[in-house]
Symmetry: C2
Subunit: 279 residues, 2 copies
């Protein structure tokens, strides 16, 4: 008995077509995608005009992508999809530092700097000492961990967004821990900034009544042999966008102290320890 397409049996009809030459994983992922996409259309009774808008939106989102811009990642980010995939793939035991989104602004092979060195090269912003330890789950220091850090400058832009304005490697650096597990560097107290909102995703956000801002944060990528990679940020606790991060990156445990200092080398100090999970 042939099952032709009907509204009632749409999912079964489409998924029955899966071929014998596909992989089990491809079949699983695509069948699930079909099931949930169809459930969406049925739940909202998607109109033909809305479907047209969707096709046009996806097309424009693809066409604005370039070597410097990835609008589909932005779309995934603002729908909480990137954070969800990150969460699903990085379930951690209690006590371990939590992951958050990687973001599009990391650059491989930043300069390896000496402990305490200043990563802010443009002289802007309020200076801040970041320091703490890289530890295992028992609180033992990890020797030879690489603490790769990056942030925007005081104007809210990463160096790669302003290659003609900012010094190369501004607000970036890698620090290698010793046997004490300590890391320390000087940077600036980060500032909040909007994600690129002049494209289809920005327009969609506006139509959803949402702003494009991310609360101020410092990025950390912490790696060490024998431990799971940690991709995270620390957030400035008094940021006005902390409760409404456009990409949902904030977690309670990632809100770091930013202490105002008197008579010190920097205006601020932000202590934070990272607890890595064993592989």
């Amino acid at each position: 008995m042939i099952q032709y397409f009907s509204e009632e049996t749409s999912v079964e009809t489409v998924n029955a077509r899966m071929g014998t030459t596909t992989t089990p994983r491809m079949a699983e992922v695509m069948s699930s995608l079909v099931k949930h996409l169809h459930a969406f259309a049925k739940e909202v009774h998607l109109t033909q005009a809305e479907w047209d808008i969707g096709i046009e939106f996806l097309t424009k989102t693809g066409q604005i992508c370039s070597g410097e811009r990835q609008e589909f990642i932005l779309l995934s980010d603002v729908l909480g999809f990137s954070m969800l995939v990150d969460a699903i793939n990085n379930r951690r035991p209690a006590g371990a530092t939590e992951n958050t989104v990687f973001g599009p602004f990391h650059v491989e092979n930043a300069p390896i700097r000496t402990m305490g060195e200043n990563i802010s090269l443009d002289g802007k912003g309020e200076s801040c000492l970041f320091e703490g330890k890289v530890l295992d789950l028992h609180g033992n220091p990890i020797d030879g961990a690489c603490v790769d850090v990056w942030s925007d400058n005081a104007d809210g832009f990463y160096d790669v967004q302003q290659p003609d304005i900012q010094p190369k490697w501004n607000n970036r650096g890698r620090f290698i821990t010793g046997r004490d597990g300590l890391y320390a560097f000087r940077g600036i107290k980060p500032t909040s900034y909007p994600i690129p909102d002049d494209g289809p995703v920005g327009k969609m956000l506006a139509q959803m009544g949402r702003h494009p801002y991310r609360p101020a944060h410092m990025h950390f990528l912490v790696t060490a042999p024998g431990f799971h990679k940690l991709v995270t940020h620390t957030f400035v606790g008094d940021d006005p966008y902390l409760d409404s991060d456009a990409v949902f990156g904030v977690k309670q445990t990632l809100i770091a102290p930013f202490e105002r200092l008197e008579d010190a080398d920097t205006l601020w100090r932000s202590p934070f320890d990272f607890m890595l999970t064993p592989e």
Copy 2:
């Protein structure tokens, strides 16, 4: 109490962010989309590598789109999503002719031809007389209905796919019914053909173990004042792809007779009546 992102509460956290300036419909559609996309990622435990593949796939799908090619419509088609949206928006009473996908090859303002005229202008293929009536649900003929028809040629291409090879308006025409509701035209018995499969969607289909073919069909767009627009095809009943249309367009009621004729003006005859629903 602030709800930061977590795997468990991902949908609620994202949808709680919907702004007060959005429209109720935008909020409804986007909330449902977020819910179902997150359910998909959770159900299959989508890996970071698979997410990367998805981002790259969507980007390439957008970037191959042009004035002549719409790869996102193709994607919607092969996932049964286009047929589903069509079905949701065109629920009809029993007896009414069913809709099917519009497809990308319709051209506005085809020549209005006289009843019985030949639409096949390239001399290829097996000639076929298409005829029948346009009726209301009570079986009364509809006066002044426009029967807009189009098909591929015997090589499996629409005229717009081969503008340098086929005559303009090859296998296209519009026919206006009189008081008897009759329509009749000569064309060719249609041939099955593959959807464009040299892009990301074709590659995806291959990975799903599916072929890209559509069974042979004649397109009809039937309109009349006071009646709902009918977008449909008639299918050739002995086509080898009837049970595996790449875009799921086949419905049992749309499989038409194709009768072999002897000593007639055409080799084939395909009678089919269209029953329109009142507005």
